[in-house]
């Protein structure tokens, strides 16, 4: 056991425990808040592994943006405050899901642990090296990603416009006669 191992075990345990709470709690808003703790401690794991830039981006994008989006969606779908049995499936369904989740964990552990090997040096990543590679080797995937973000933005906008158009059509339908409906 090295110092880094102990530090990783600390943040890793927090991440695993808060992840468990995030998927099992019946308080809808608490689930999103436990997700904050989980993603934040995963950022701590990145710090222990020496990837400072990734840890900061994780904090900025995941904890800062994605969780706020999730909280907004909960607010807009009128999520109830307080424990709510409606958010989880039946007991049998949950048992099956738990078996499948445990199966995923067992499968990954059986594949990954044999290749973990002995303790290795962790040189730490210099941000200069990452920046050089992002704008050197990975520049075309990087540009494609910017396009992807634009497409996602337009798609989200289009989806919200489409449902509004459908709503307008639905509310207009009863007042119309059959031929008018067909001509639409």
């Amino acid at each position: 056991m090295t110092t880094l191992d102990i530090a990783f075990a600390g943040v890793g345990l927090v991440a695993a425990a808060s992840g468990l709470l995030a998927v099992t709690t019946r308080h809808v808003v608490h689930a999103a808040l436990w997700l904050v703790v989980c993603l934040g401690s995963v950022a701590g794991c990145y710090l222990v592994l020496g990837a400072e830039l990734v840890a900061l981006v994780q904090l900025l994008v995941y904890v800062g943006a994605v969780v706020v989006l999730v909280l907004f969606a909960l607010m807009l779908t009128r999520a109830p405050i307080g424990p709510n049995p409606e958010v989880t499936t039946s007991r049998a369904h949950r048992a099956l899901a738990a078996v499948l989740g445990a199966g995923v964990t067992a499968l990954l552990l059986s594949v990954l642990l044999p290749v973990a090997g002995p303790a290795r040096k962790r040189p730490g990543t210099s941000n200069t090296a990452v920046a050089e590679q992002v704008f050197g080797t990975w520049v075309w995937p990087f540009e494609a990603l910017s396009l992807l973000l634009l497409v996602a933005l337009v798609a989200a906008f289009a989806i919200s416009r489409m449902t509004r158009a459908a709503e307008v059509a639905q509310s207009a339908l009863p007042e119309m006669t059959a031929p008018e409906r067909i001509s639409q």
Binding site: G12, V23, V28, V66, T77, A98, L109, A166
Partner: protein
């Protein structure tokens, strides 16, 4: 010096928890939390492999940044779909059959 067994074990646990969350949640927004956990497991694997050994192109770090970006785009579109569903049906229950 660090053992990679810890990061690998945490990645496996997060992926399992995410799979449970996707399968066991009825609320569509809470199902997305499971998806986020699975993506984080993948990111943790990439970072832990990239942090040891010679990573000439910094693939572990750069690909993790890419996955975080893609996750943000995915959440954006998914939440737009969830809100559209809520507006059409009045709830976001994944087990309820559509009329």
């Amino acid at each position: 010096m660090i053992h990679l067994a810890g990061p690998y074990a945490l990645a496996a646990v997060l992926a399992g928890l995410g799979a449970y969350g996707v399968l066991a949640r009825r609320n569509a927004v809470l199902m997305l939390i499971g998806v986020e956990l699975i993506l984080n497991a993948a990111n943790l694997l990439l970072v832990s492999v990239g942090s040891v050994g010679a990573d000439t192109w910094q693939a572990g770090n750069v690909l993790t940044l890419f996955v975080i970006t893609i996750a943000a785009a995915e959440v954006c579109v998914a939440l737009a779909v969830v809100l559209a569903l809520f507006r059409l049906r009045g709830d976001v229950d994944l087990t309820r059959r559509a009329e």
